[in-house]
């Protein structure tokens, strides 16, 4: 039995310690917005935040997490999809199939949390998730747009 703090709520999960966080989220906690894409930390579809850092949940054994570790999934990023990244994604109409977008959004949100105004090179370095549909150009546009939305909010 492990205690996990997911989206601000502490939950007991009864799983083997080597179970990846991804599968605990999907199969025990019931949050399916975090996706399985590769299982080897290559594609980033499973990206979540752990204590504010973006991490690939397919490669985090649940036993390595403490009850005090704050895990945030796409479902808990912001109420009613109001995070600047989500609003920018909607404005730019980024997703195609959408399957990788939870991970892309979590990666972008983490980037903007530590770098309010990322350059193209910063985005290249931070946004390494795979999108087979090829929404990359719109992802870049939307990350810049989210930075502007955040600035406008700060001014208001």
């Amino acid at each position: 039995m492990a205690k996990l703090n997911v989206n601000g709520k502490v939950r007991d999960v009864d799983v083997e310690a080597d179970t990846p966080l991804l599968w605990v989220l999907r199969e025990q906690v019931g949050l399916t917005g975090t996706k399985y894409g590769c299982g080897v930390a290559q594609c980033g579809s499973c990206s979540v935040h752990v204590n504010g850092e973006v991490r690939r949940s397919c490669s985090i054994p649940v036993g390595s997490l403490k009850a005090s570790d704050r895990i945030v999934t796409i479902e808990g990023l912001a109420p009613k999809a109001t995070h600047a990244v989500q609003r920018a994604w909607a404005e730019v109409d980024v997703p195609q199939c959408g399957y990788c977008q939870s991970g892309q959004i979590m990666a972008a949100a983490a980037l903007l949390a530590r770098n309010a105004d990322p350059s193209d090179a910063d985005i290249d370095a931070a946004m390494t998730n795979i999108c087979r549909c090829g929404t990359y150009q719109r992802i870049r546009t939307a990350v810049h747009r989210a930075a502007v939305l955040n600035k406008d909010k700060a001014k208001a």
Binding site: T73, D93, Q96, C97, Q101, D124, C133
Partner: protein, 729 residues
Amino acid sequence: MKKTSSTPNLSRRQFIVGSAAAGGGLALGLHVPFGLAQDARTAAPAEINLWVAIRPDDTCLIRIARAEMGQGTLTGLAQLVAEELECDWSKVATEPITPGRNLASKRAWGEMGTGGSRGIRTSQDYVRQGGAAARMMLLQAAADEWKVPVGELSVDKGVITHAGSGRKTTYGKVASAAARLTPPDLKSIKLKDARQWKIAGQPLHRLDTADKLDGSKVYSIDVQLPGMLNAAIKQCPVFGGKLVSYDESKIAGRRGVKGVVKVDASSVAVVADTWWRAKTALDALPIVWDEGPGATASSAQIAEHLKGGLTAANAFALRNEGDALKAIEGAPKKVEAVYSTPFLAHATMEPMNCTARVTKDRAEAWVPTQNAEASLAALSEEAGIPLAQCEVNRTDLGCGFGRRGGNQDYTRQAAAIAKQFPGVAVKLIWSREEDIQHDFYRPISQCKLAAGLDEQGNLTGMHIRISGQSINAFVNPASIADGKDKRQLQGMWEEPGDAQLGYTFPNFLLEYAMRNTHVPVGPWRGVNTNQNGVYMECFMDEVAKAAGKDPLEFRRSLMAKHPKHLAVLNAAAEKAGWGTPLPEGRFRGIAQFMGYYSYSAAVAEVSVSPKGELKVHRMVLALNCGHAVNPHMIAAQVEGSVALGLSATLYGENTVDKGRIVQSNFHDYQSVRLADMPKIETVLVQSLDFWGGVGEPTICVVAPSVMNAVHAATGKPVRSLPLKNVKLV
């Protein structure tokens, strides 16, 4: 948290209403725009016709028979119906048609298969008629109520007005009366001229974005049903091999494991309470395979086999105009080259999966499918339940790329597993490793080209011989005889329309030598236009260079009889500034090709560092797809085709060793990432005299334009893919 589990035994219609009424957010697959009240979502709509149902609050529910996998067909089809319906776009919602429903209605919704870039171009006429017929019935209902001639009514955004009396009503108010009227005769329906479009043709946002932003969208892999079990599968690593035995005792007593199942002759699955427990138990299960005759195959052997086809005495000549061999033989200057392209896996982001539940008289599946009717057939056949007692619940796909069409291998497997757990829903999920190693790959091929030039550098003859695997020989052998497979020569056909070669060669011999392997093959976004575009367009640059001519000018001189091809090529060249100076170290490459009734051209700008590192800086793509239903989404498809096309150009290959695919995941089957992407510009060349595809056409010009730019940069032609294997300097 959205669940699909609350109403498992209800019909589809009850299911949608029921799950929305349960307050679980948007119902599975039903996309309702923001701002609608909850009761509006649950009010029973009036069925105007197959395509349109209208709720009292004026919500227009548009039925979609084709699959949505990111390509935007759902929104595009809704735009076409809404255009003729004259409804309020902000009140449009969509609903997928299930194959069971289509079958029960004698396929009233037509073909559901979504491949070959057909989603819009082959259903645009009847869906527009559906929208127009619904509009006519709604207006007639208002005219009947007001007892005025229907010709005196007008409609705008779902509001019907009688100018004479000043009366107004809305679609929602007359919908139930309209639903009782006799539909108009098809012949009386006059569709709008595209020049008058207000909703179609506009760069509208997609209808299906909202639930992709907060994790609430339910893909098939996310489906949860009461008491559901999960299955992980292993298939014989060598294609054509068989399952001999497995030692179940080695995983006995593992937590959550419910059983080990022989799925079919070549695969075994572990079923457990969770997928992770099933997968880890499967990894621990000792399995004995009979790898069969394919076990000795290697990429080197396959390459030799194909090489033989390049010079074999017998080949299928699709085009033989004039005497190409003689013209080339007698030419003062000859150019020759041999090109090759590898097998490629699709690697859809959502891995193969299917949830199935089989009882003694009913079978149901939840599956990401490009061909829901093929899924239904596979389910019925495997479960041994008549078609009429089967249903496939549709979910949008996490990518398709051609992997999830007619070959419903994963649906079949899920049904075979579920059959052994009667009444229990079982979700089969493939690991990424299974996905990369058990695909229906883009076929491998080689191409030998020869051209003759006269003293002035004019082309006198062209000989193209492609040797490689045939998709039809694998999926539909009855459709070809003696290797006469025209499809493998896609993009080089003589007849106009679908996939016509844009050049006129004075003497031309075009041949195909079928050389099959034990590796399963299938359509991969763009299918054979990918490989054939590389062969034709990279060789054109080699010939132009030998002739001492500019690659664009050389092409133009052969395109006088193909004005649509030429217009697209010119549009790309103009937007890219072909012939204008570039920054130091940058070089351009150009290509044009055709598939799926649409014309494509591209100009790539690249640089190659002294160490041989390639950077693609900018790509301009021009497309003429005839009617452009949504320019915003067309540009997205062009951008997507650049990404998948660049993945194939730079990194993509599946090699064979000991009969199996060597690559297993994204670490060795690489995709482009954001940092690899050039700036992409899309130029739409619109003609209103045809309907072409969008999802696939532009991918075929990505690789050759980049390869031609590399040729310009290094002075050496590149003749094999992927470029990661080629020493550029």
